[in-house]
């Protein structure tokens, strides 16, 4: 395995994929974004370090376990959180050292880390471990079993770093281990589980901030204003589609395609009755004044834009078709 073999403990909650969850354990997984950020950060760091530290070394060590030729190195780590009844909430994660030769976790390190985290977060337990890669590896089961003495049913969180940026789902999967009977003998296999993302206010703010630093669709919205307007646009679009859904539902109900549901109707009518929020002359005046102000600003911006295009055009026409009286540089006149 290449040099950075730290296992980044990123137990990310499994993304709510639409494939059938094979898990029958009935556990509800809640994942905090901090974990996802941690894992991806770990992975990126390791990848960058490997790239810097020389291509030769990484290519030779690529033959090692886990990395695979040309693939970024896998990272490992532990995830910690709280388990209350059937709800497993994964709050945080830390990195682990994986012994490249034997493929086992460094226990001493793990315990030391556990102790440190216990001091800061007394409520958190080690819930499982994480790794990166596109799919579950065979060696993963060993690590999983090794962790079973810490937590009798650890979770395995897999982050797929090679994911397509245009895909909307999180490339994170949570696996549980279950005893299934295969070919006559009971075996532990990984089964997928569903999860949800849970955020604390602080996390939401930081994720928002990170999301806006880098434009997500290839850098087209380079300015803050454009990003802001895109946000508003998508919000309005979503509002519009929701309203349309309700409208279609009501129309269908009116036609008789769907059985009449009075409680829903009551909710819709209460929603409708909440608008308009205000209906007074003063509100109209102020609203229209502000509307006109915004329109005037747009008009002014367009005007400026148009004038500058016009200016450039005039410059071009003057250079190409006018006999120059004086020219900058002066040499053109002698041609």
């Amino acid at each position: 395995m290449s040099a950075p073999s730290d296992a980044a403990p990123a137990v990310s909650a499994p993304a709510p994929t639409t494939t059938a969850a094979a898990s029958s354990g009935g556990f509800t997984f809640k994942l905090h974004p901090l974990v996802i950020v941690n894992v991806s950060d770990h992975h990126t760091r390791v990848k960058a370090q490997a790239a810097c530290s020389g291509d030769s070394s990484s290519s030779s060590s690529a033959a090692g376990a886990g990395a695979g030729a040309g693939q970024p190195p896998r990272v490992f780590g532990c995830v910690i959180g709280v388990q209350r009844g059937r709800t497993v909430e994964i709050f945080n994660s830390f990195e682990l050292v994986l012994d490249p030769v034997s493929g086992t976790l460094d226990r001493a390190f793990l315990e030391k880390k556990q102790e440190l985290y216990k001091k800061v977060f007394p409520d958190f337990y080690v819930l499982g471990w994480y790794s990166t890669g596109s799919d579950v590896h065979d060696t993963d089961m060993q690590i999983h079993k090794a962790l079973m003495d810490v937590n009798e049913s650890p979770v395995y969180l897999l982050l797929n770093p090679t994911i397509n940026l245009s895909q909307k789902d999180l490339p994170v999967t949570i696996y549980e281990s279950e005893l299934h009977v295969i070919d006559g003998s009971p075996q532990l296999i990984f089964v997928r589980s569903n999860y949800t993302i849970e955020t604390v206010e602080a996390e939401r703010i930081s994720v928002d901030h990170v999301a806006h630093l880098k434009p997500s669709d290839g850098g087209s919205a380079a300015t803050q204003l454009a990003a802001h307007l895109t946000g508003i646009h998508s919000a309005i679009k979503m509002l519009n589609s929701r309203v349309r859904v309700i409208h279609q539902y009501l129309v269908a109900m009116q036609k008789g395609d769907i059985p009449v549901d009075n409680s829903l109707l009551r909710q819709v009518s209460s929603l409708v009755r909440r608008l308009p929020a205000m209906e007074s002359q003063k509100f109209q005046d102020d609203f229209l004044m502000e509307y006109n102000d915004t329109l005037l600003m747009t008009y002014l911006a367009m005007f400026t834009n148009c004038s500058s295009t016009m200016n450039e055009l005039v410059e071009k026409i003057n250079t190409s078709y006018e006999r120059p009286t004086t020219r900058r540089g002066g040499r053109g006149a002698f041609m």
Binding site: L288, L295, T309
Partner: protein, 429 residues
């Protein structure tokens, strides 16, 4: 050359579908020329056989041969011939005549000449208006018929008739002379209607249009431009950067008196201006601008009163009369009243004590009409901006432009930077 009867039979037969019309067109082209004109006299009875709507193309050819035959049109019963042409112009089918645009233009010109000869310009207005619409391929195109039409409207003093044509924005121009004439006549029509801002726009276009040599239309347009801009703005702006070089250099020399008029106007004293106008009234008269100059005089008062609004909040009528050099407060009151009605100032006159109080623009921008107004302006501006962007792109690919910029760069560097590779034309490599 087929005989006339055969030709007429062809016309009647082949005017159905577009393919037939194209075939007919080629036949007519063959038959066209002096031979047709030589038989001009004989053509007239044949015209009666053809109908203008369905046989427009054939009709057009025959008509044009008659019209340009050079022989005296009164031979055909001049008044009737006019009616024939007018009827044709009104009834013809636009698709067919677009196949032979120059012939159509000839016919229109003949109509205009006839009408002017007969001194009844008003008869030409309606047919020419339909003719303009029919030959235009899009409402944004300028045709020679525009200029003729506007001339007739001016001569007939039917200014409103010209308005409908003037309201379209023009984006395509074939002949520069058309543009100059159009702008000049259009400006005059707006002056006649007292819509001075629009007149200013059109005259401005005439003055700043690209021209390699100064032309007479532009000089006349400039004279009126000076006068109208004095009426509207109180000053004559300097030439913008897109004026042609020849215009910038020599325009003012040809319009000496007007430049002096504008300088004395800017001094603000009515009496000086009046004496100047009296002294040079002969020149103004010869340019047919005397009426306009008199309007400039009366606008002097307006300018001064407007200047007062910026200094005072309230003013008595006597003071106004005194500072604006009017004779009596009555005059001042009349002027102020008229200006309030025209919307040029915002004020109220208190008749009891003869005080005028000036106000700010009462527009609060809180009405829905204002929203629509601004919205429509934004839409127009968006469309214009798109057009400008496409023209700009075309300009950047223009070989003349590329040659000039590529040449510059070549001179400065001596050798070509590989960074400039994209914009330098390949032939230099």
């Amino acid at each position: 050359m087929e005989s006339l009867e055969a030709l007429v039979a062809h016309i009647q037969g082949l005017s159905g579908s577009p393919e037939e019309v194209a075939h007919l067109h080629s036949l007519l082209k063959q038959a066209d020329g002096d031979s047709l004109r030589a038989h001009a006299a004989a053509l007239v009875p044949f015209l009666a056989h053809l109908s203008p709507e369905t046989h427009s193309l054939g009709y057009l050819y025959l008509l044009e041969a008659c019209a340009t035959s050079g022989s005296n049109l009164s031979e055909f019963g001049g008044g009737d011939f006019l009616v024939t042409i007018a009827g044709f112009l009104t009834a013809c089918s636009a698709d067919q005549i677009r196949l032979a645009p120059d012939k159509f233009l000839n016919v229109c010109r003949v109509l205009k000449d006839q009408v002017m000869q007969l001194n009844m310009p008003i008869r030409g207005i309606a047919p020419l208006r339909t003719a303009v619409r029919k030959i235009q391929s899009s409402p944004e195109q300028l045709t020679p018929v525009h200029a003729d039409y506007l001339l007739l409207c001016l001569l007939a003093k039917q200014y409103k008739a010209g308005l409908s044509i003037l309201e379209d924005d023009i984006f395509e121009v074939d002949q520069p002379k058309d543009l100059f004439l159009y702008c000049y006549y259009g400006g005059m029509i707006y002056i006649g209607l007292k819509k001075f801002p629009k007149a200013l726009e059109l005259l401005h276009n005439a003055v700043t249009a690209p021209m390699s040599m100064l032309n007479a239309i532009a000089v006349e347009a400039y004279k009126k431009y000076v006068l109208v801009s004095l009426i509207v703005n109180g000053q004559v702006p300097s030439f913008p950067k897109y004026t042609s070089v020849s215009a910038q250099r020599s325009m003012k020399n040809h319009a000496q008196f007007y430049v002096e008029l504008s300088t004395s106007y800017s001094n603000g004293r009515y009496t000086d201006l009046e004496t100047f106008v009296q002294a040079n009234s002969a020149t103004f008269q010869s340019d047919n601008n005397l009426g306009l100059v008199k309007q400039v005089l009366s606008s002097m008062y307006k300018r001064n009163i407007q200047r007062l609004t910026q200094t005072y909040l309230t003013l008595s009528l006597e003071d106004i009369a005194r500072s604006v050099q009017l004779e009596t407060p009555r005059d001042a009151e009349m002027h102020v009243l008229r200006m309030i009605e025209d919307g040029e100032i915002h004020a109220t006159i208190n008749q009891k004590d003869g005080m005028v109080s000036f106000h700010e623009d009462p527009e609060q921008y809180k009405s829905v009409e204002m929203v629509e107004h601004i919205d429509s302006s934004i839409q127009r501006l968006t469309a214009l901006s798109k057009k400008l962007a496409s023209i700009d792109e075309n300009m950047s690919c223009d070989p003349a432009y590329l040659m000039k910029t590529g040449r510059d760069r070549g001179r400065f560097d001596g050798r070509f930077d590989y960074d400039d590779y994209d914009s330098v034309p390949h032939k230099f490599f």
